[in-house]
Amino acid sequence: MGFTMISIYIPWEIHEIEKGRFDFGQINQSNDIDAFLSLCRKLGFKIVVRPGPQINSELTWFGYPKRILANERLWARSARGSKVILTQVPKPVPALNYASEEFLDETALWYDAICSILAKHAYPNGGVVAAQVDNEMAYFFGINAYASDYSDESVAAYRTFVFSKYGGLTGVNAAYSTTISNSDELQPPRRFDAASYRDIPWYADWAEYRERYLVTSMGRLGDMMRERGLSGIALFHNYPHPLGPGGAASGFTTPFNIMGLEKHLDFVGFDIYARKELYAHVKTVATYVVGTSRYPYIPEFIAGVWPWYLNPGDLDDEEFVTKAALMHGIKGFSRYMLVERDRWLDSPIRRDGRERAEKVEMFARANAMLVAGKFVNKRLVADVLLLANREYDRLEAASVLVSFPGDFLETPSGFSEYAGALTVSEDTLGFDQPVQLVKSAWFTAFEQALSGGGYGFVLSDTELDETLWQHRKVVVVTTLDYLDNRVQKALLDFAARGGTVVIGPKAPVLDSLMHPCTLLHDVLVKSDGNASGSRVAEHGAGHVVLVSELDDVPQAVSAACSLPGLSRVVVNDTALDVALHRDVDDATSFVIFVANPTAQPIAAEVTIGHRIGAVHELWDQRDLSTDGKTIADIVPAFSIHVYRCVTDAERTP
């Protein structure tokens, strides 16, 4: 099929005989990791290893030895102090406490054993080029802010985090308007009871701490791997698919934090298991990873599913989702699972080695297209950076009214584990609108305006280092009553250097501690309204645009993106979605993806503002005739066409 690397889990659960004793082939030959890695290298494969400690892998005990799960000192705790149970098949398992030193000590025993084998095979001495640190760590899918972790160790870490953030007791009391006399008096919120916007920092900090918990624990595990001989290979982590069925509209940030975790690991991605109907979700995940990670990689990319995946898809879904991720700029992926096994179905290769011919053909075709089309040289053309507002996402996460654990089947609550309109408080907290709800409507409006207008964009969030904004010409972000001082300043700096900043619906007047902060407001206060329903202020060499009404967003975005030099792909039907990729070595060569994410075929007409020469559809290997301006083609329902075209202009269309 054209794959060049093999990615494998290595389950602690399987290899441990008893505490501190492991079988790597001495008892069961199939446990001989050393021999397997040697064989992979002999066959010419590079290797990605995933030694946990948690691997899930549909194993009975989620990859841990049973004794680890049975040790109550290692359990995470809910806000009520209860156990935290993930209902998975075939056994429910307790969420573990990753702030526990005892847990890390236990993991060290496993790492001592497995890393000594892996280090021997680490590149350049062997074929192991990367290692995944743990797996889909998100509180065992307990995304809900109050689901966990309230273990003693975690609460202690929370206090350390808060005191560090505010520089000590005085700072904490100032931030929270409290009069505590020592850190032990600081308690984390255990349910949402905010009565005023002045309460927001305390709740938002809990959401921020939950990000930090995951970053810190993954960072420590990464350091433990490096200390055991894996310092010369790439270390990465895979967050779980954040927008699966029932996922959030924009809350793909917290409790995840790609940029925070990439300070400790080499790269971080999101797993994708989606059916074609969830095109918008796949686009969100892909464009967010592309806009945020230093290596846009999908560590687990759908190739079959686990049996308790409800309403599993088929070959058409996998082809569509494959193209969708590539369309939005993904540069690497690991198929999960190419080879079927217990508790996994519909892989291209069956358990007995026989092939599912149609699947093998599709996966091979995708790889062949990437090679023949020289996708390694292709770059998504994205002049616009759409930032999710992480501050507001934290408030949304913390303002959830109900609390429940993760569930692989379906929680009896019926709610998504991601906070949303069904579960989030509607309290305005003294503002004129509930920030935690309004922000999603605005994010969606901005996203739709950019997509509908054909403007290339990537997603990230307000925590993205502002030095990385400079690749873009326009930055768009939802702003309401408050916004962190650093972000306000960064937006103005971006504008001052010649960029365009689009915000809305408000110019904030407070910072994240609810202190007056009017940096953006002061710039906009003297601006005039324009025909697009927005206010535009010149700032340095650029502009700051404030759009105040949702209905004005498309026009305001269009006006802001009409600057000279911004790329745009125009389609005749707004149901279509498009993405343009340039070639780093050939300024006249482009790849245009045209997606039809609807159930009806669409006669598409696509123009890029330049004369178009030869057009070739890369997936089906067919040439198209053009009138020199337009790519015209029938795009069937739920399909994506991939056109390579040559223009007569040596610059980005």
Binding site: S78, R80, K83, S413, A421
Partner: protein, 292 residues
């Protein structure tokens, strides 16, 4: 009932998807009006798809059962059910359920307890129509309770044997489940018929016989094989538990499916299903097959 080391392999994705559609109902996919309140003060009043475009908005909840019923009637045609939840009750419910977990407990027992625990919050977690434990979450569409299913298994399935359940549609196997039970009636394997290994075309009778032969060729002992036509399967599942025997009897008599039962007392056992009247007798020691 589900063994901790259950093998779930060689599953045909199309049959598996169909099995889910036939046997499971997801509350998440239902149109719901959600009311969350705190000691009677409503904090959330929202429809899963219509948002706040619903009738009968209330600011307080005095009688959650009455509120759920009135809202359901007021939004007839727009909701599959109404759920009225008190914040503290929901948090308490999940704390109770999670604290009840025991590492050696079977999944299905934990899930059964989880849903049964909703009965402890009859005023705090309210649905209409139907009780919360039978409405929320992921529900089996078996028309029988967990204990009734468990009893039926012990009555009709031999220890350490295999059960084949199938549904035929358009002269094709639309869905199958092949379940291995151990001596303790724990399910040790879950799979489907593999279309790459066995011909899945044919009538219900042909499929039942062929699947049984195919499974037994692998060395397993089949103690029950039932293949019904699609509409018959729907009727059988929809029938109340005390009528299932009679419904199955009628379906088989009318040529809507095929049943194989192994065991010396099989015909008597089948007859013990309420309302079941076997149309074909079998002497003790014979295999009982009811076909069309």
């Amino acid at each position: 009932m589900l063994h901790q080391d259950v093998l779930m392999s060689d599953i045909d994705v199309d049959q598996w998807r169909n099995a889910q559609a036939l046997l499971l109902r997801s509350a998440k996919t239902c149109r719901r009006l959600v009311v969350i309140h705190e000691r009677g003060r409503v904090l959330k009043f929202r429809h899963t798809t219509l948002g706040d475009r619903v009738s009968g908005r209330v600011a307080t909840v005095d009688d959650p059962h009455r509120t759920a019923r009135v809202l359901y009637d007021a939004n007839s045609g727009e909701v599959d059910f109404v759920v009225v939840m008190e914040r503290d009750a929901l948090d308490s419910y999940f704390a109770q359920v999670q604290d009840s977990w025991d590492i050696d407990e079977d999944l299905d027992e934990f899930v059964r307890k989880s849903y049964a625990a909703l009965d402890s919050f009859t005023d705090g977690i309210v649905t209409y129509p139907g009780r919360a434990r039978e409405t929320l979450g992921l529900q089996w569409r078996l028309g029988a309770s967990f204990s009734e299913v468990e009893s039926a298994v012990r009555e009709f399935v031999r220890p350490a044997s295999t059960v084949i359940l199938g549904v035929e549609s358009d002269v094709q196997l639309w869905m199958s489940l092949i379940l291995d039970f151990d001596e303790d009636y724990k399910i040790t394997s879950v799979t489907t018929a593999d279309p790459s290994r066995v011909d899945v075309r044919g009538t219900a009778q042909a499929l039942e016989e062929r699947l049984k032969d195919w499974v037994e060729a692998s060395g397993k002992v089949v103690s029950l094989a039932l293949v019904l036509q699609y509409t018959a399967a729907v009727d059988f599942l929809a029938a109340p538990s005390d009528k299932k025997g009679a419904v199955l009897s009628t379906l088989l008599r009318n040529g809507k499916g095929s049943l194989y039962l192994a065991g010396v007392q099989s015909h008597l056992q089948l007859g013990s299903l309420p309302g079941f009247t076997p149309h074909q007798s079998a002497a003790p020691g014979d295999t009982h097959r009811v076909v069309t």
